[in-house]
Every structure is written in C-alpha cells, then in structure tokens.
C-alpha cells in the first residue's frame, strides 16, 4: 500500500486482553500520526482490539484479511 509503517508486531495466538496491552505498548513508542502494523487473530481479537483502540482515540486505517489472521494498520491518535 506504500504506507510508511514505523513498527510491526505479530500478535498471532496472543489472546485478549494481552493483545490489546501489547498493541498499546507498541503505540507508546510511536509519535502521533505514525503507523503501526499488527497481526491479529480472527474472532475475539479482531472484534475487541480495534474497538478498544477507537475508545482510546487511535484509528484503524486498513484491515487485510489473511485467512485466520488480519493485518491491521493503526494510526496513533
């Protein structure tokens, strides 16, 4: 997509709420407006993590379905 991804983490097989905690920790290292790429599982993870990020003011800008996982790009809010 030609996006400038600052950091990438793989949260495959990391369950709730640890996946959200790790996502937040990774976002903490970024500046506002920078992008984080996260690999999230189907099911609870793709349902809960983006919604919790929304509550905290971050924005999901793209979701790509890879089968059992999703590649999610998040812009730090």
């Amino acid at each position: 997509m030609g996006l400038d991804i600052k950091k990438s983490i793989n949260l495959h097989n990391i369950s709730c709420p640890m996946n959200f905690v790790k996502t937040k920790a990774a976002l903490a290292e970024l500046q506002q407006g920078e992008l984080l790429e996260v690999l999230l599982d189907e099911g609870e993870a793709i349902l809960n993590v983006p919604r919790s990020l929304k509550d905290e003011g971050h924005q999901v800008i793209n979701v790509e379905n890879l089968g059992e996982t999703f590649k999610v790009i998040i812009k730090k809010g």
């Binding site: 349902l47 919604r51 924005q59 800008i61 999703f70």
Partner: protein, 419 residues
C-alpha cells in the same frame, strides 16, 4: 366433621401403597380436632383383610405425640382392594366409641372417616385441607404456584424465589443466606434461569421463611404451568454492546405477567443485543435489542474493518461503496461500534420479538415474530402472543410446539394482524 390435611392424606396413601397387598395402619395425631401428624405403624396381623396395632408401638407413639402436645385423634388403615367402608371385621373389632376410624381405599383412591358405636357405623363428613401457606389454604399443586416445590424427602420443600433479571440487593442476598442457614441446609441452589432456590426447608418452616424473605422484598417464585420469572442480561445498564434497557423491560413484563396461568410452563427473556446472552431464542417469548445500521459515505475511510467483523457477511464492497444486505443483517451493532470513523451509524434501534423457543425435552429455537419493533409495539405483541397461547395451547404443549402444530405462518399472521 373430620378435618385432615392433604399432606397427611398423601402419607396415608403412601404408607398403604408400600405395604400393599397387606393392610397398612397407624395413628393420626393432632390438636383441637385437626390432624397434624401421621404415625405409620406395623400391622401385627400381616393380613390383607384386617389389622391389629402393636401395643408396644401404640404406647411409644402415644407418648411421643403427648410430648408434642398432641392427642391421638384417629386410627387409620387401608383397604388395598376394597372400598373405603368398615368391613364386618372392622366393626367387630372396633373397641373405642370415641375414636375416629379413617379408612383409605387404595383401589378407589378414596378416604373416609367413621365412628363405630356398639356395632353401629356413623359416617363422618371429611374435609381435606391444604397446608396454610401465603395466607391461603393450599394443596401441593397450588403450592407449586408459589414456588414451594415438594422434594422427594417427605415433608421437605425447595423454596424457589422470585428474581427479575437475576438481580438481588446485598441485603436480600444476606437474608437469603440467613434463611438457608436457619431453615434450609446451609446452601442455596442457583437455577439455570437466574433463580435462587433454598432447598431442604421443612413444611413447618415454609410460612415463617416466606415472611422473613418478604421483609426484604423477596417474593416467592413460580413453578408449574404458568409464567415463570423473567430472565434478562444486564443490557444497556453496564454492557458496552447493550442496545436496550433490559432491566426496565424485564420488570415491566414481570409486573404484567408473572405467575399467570398458561397451558404449560411459559418463559420470558430480555436480551440487550444479538449476542443473545440471555438466550431470547430459547424462551417462549424473547425480546432482543437490535440496531439497523446505515453507511455514510463521506465519513468512510475505506479501511475494510466492517467487512471483516460483520458476523454474517451482511456488508459487501463494490467500488469503495459499502452495501448492507438487510436479509443477512442480524442488527448486532458490531459495525457501528467498530467503525473507526463512525461511518456506520444506527439508522434505527428496536426490539426484536421472538416466539416459541424452548429447550427441555423437545428443543426448538424461536421463530422471529417481528424485527426491530418499537417498544410499545413489542409489548403489544407479547400480550397478543401470550393470549394466543392461552387460547390455543393444549395442556403439556409448549408454545413453540403449538406453533408447529397450527403452522408457523398462520400463527405469526394471527398474532401480528389478527382481530
């Protein structure tokens, strides 16, 4: 006139059946002419046609009754195969003109009382009264109506309490614990439908336990063919998915219908959203909060999250246009609450009404009567559905099975648009 309690009558028949084909016999004791206790005793004769009490046992029972302030009011015996009237043998052997002879015929399922004076038989009018619970004279079937359920242990009851949506205050919980300790067996049982039961309460404590529970606002529950306690999930009050106020609706339904008689048991549930935690589709009537989404193009950033979280693939994408397939949508609000830019918005929220769900012996998932009704409309439909079942349901036929017998389309049509 001879007054006897239903519980005692049951005990006499039970004794008779366990000793049949021999005659069973015993004493009935009580106070002020009312029998309160049954003492099953041994028939020394071991005969199918006559009986003799064992003098030693007689003495023991009389002493025990006297120690409780009771007098022996009657001698009972059973006739396993003949009617409830004194045989020649009974008349010949009657020794006390003041005592009442109670005869229970197992073959005729009938109980009668007599006095026998010098060979002459005097028929007494017998009045069977229920236990005195809730200020009423009740029999066991009627007690079930008030959530007092006889256990297999003779004389002991499970007290099923009334809750709405499974909510109890701390004071209520403390009182329940207190009662379970004092009159029960020191534990409570939680039912599968958010009910609380206190087990092992002897019938002599039922009324006092009931009163002590009532002091903190706990009513008795219900059992048998009637509207049971209303189940609800926490809904909008605490749950982030909650679309409707489940507690308010559960309370309203409870106040309108709780304990109303129905052909068979009748269960209501209110669930806050299509996650269906309160299992609206497994109840005779279920109400489910729901939200119909609408896509607003100008807000959308084409992230595709909605496509990937919709549980039913109701959202499709064509040329950066996101479309809703209403046929597939279950109104779950996952898209509206997930969309990072709130491009999916709630176009309409409402109350989806389900009818005819049941688990139990013959499970059946509910039929959707109406999607996203207005609140008042959903109350109206509940009312009509319940009345329809009361009019058309057969005994021992759950609502859903009635619907299948009559036909889903016909029932839906008549509830929705009938007179």
């Amino acid at each position: 006139m001879f007054k006897i309690n239903q519980e005692i009558v049951n005990q006499i028949f039970k004794h008779g059946e366990s000793d049949a084909p021999l005659e069973a016999c015993g004493y009935l004791a009580g106070k002020d002419g009312i029998v309160t206790r049954c003492y099953p005793m041994d028939n020394k004769d071991r005969s199918e046609e006559h009986f003799t009490l064992d003098p030693e046992e007689q003495f023991k029972v009389i002493r025990e009754a006297n120690s409780l302030g009771l007098n022996i009011l009657a001698v009972y015996h059973t006739h396993p195969a003949t009617p409830a009237r004194p045989s020649n043998e009974d008349i010949r052997l009657a020794y006390d003109p003041n005592i009442v002879y109670v005869i229970a015929s197992l073959s005729d399922k009938e109980i009668k009382a007599f006095k026998i004076k010098k060979g002459e038989v005097l028929n007494l009018k017998i009045e069977i009264e229920g236990l005195k619970i809730c200020g009423l004279e009740l029999d066991l079937a009627a007690m079930k109506k008030f959530g007092m359920i006889q256990q297999k242990q003779k004389g002991f009851f499970a007290m099923r309490l009334h809750t709405v949506g499974g909510d109890l205050t701390v004071a209520q919980l403390q009182r329940i614990a207190d009662i379970a300790k004092k009159y029960g067996e020191g534990f409570v049982h939680l039912s599968t439908r958010q009910g609380v039961e206190i087990h092992g309460v002897h019938n002599k404590y039922l009324e006092i336990a009931r009163k002590e529970l009532a002091e903190v606002g706990i009513k008795m529950g219900a059992c048998g063919p009637r509207v049971r306690i209303v189940v609800a999930c926490p809904g909008e009050a605490t749950c982030r998915w909650g679309i409707i106020d489940t507690k308010e609706m559960a309370k309203e339904l409870d106040s309108r219908y709780f304990r109303e008689d129905t052909p068979h048991k009748f269960k209501l549930s209110v669930t806050g959203c299509p996650h269906n935690c309160a299992k609206a589709t497994e109840n005779d009537i279920g109400i489910m909060g729901g939200m119909l989404p609408r896509w607003e193009e100008d807000k959308c950033i084409n992230c595709d999250l909605c496509l990937n979280v919709c549980p039913t693939e109701a959202i499709t994408k064509e040329d950066n246009q996101y479309k809703l397939n209403e046929e597939k949508c279950i109104y779950c609000s996952i898209c509206t609450s997930s969309c990072p830019t709130s491009a999916w918005v709630g176009a309409k929220t409402g109350y989806t009404v389900f009818i005819g769900g049941t688990m139990g012996k013959i499970p059946r998932l509910a039929t959707r009567l109406k999607a996203l009704a207005e609140k008042e409309e959903s109350y109206r439909l509940v009312e009509r559905a319940l009345r329809y079942y009361q009019e058309n349901g057969r005994k021992k036929e759950r609502f859903g099975h009635m619907i299948d017998r009559i036909g889903v389309d016909k029932v839906k049509e008549e509830i929705l648009n009938g007179p």
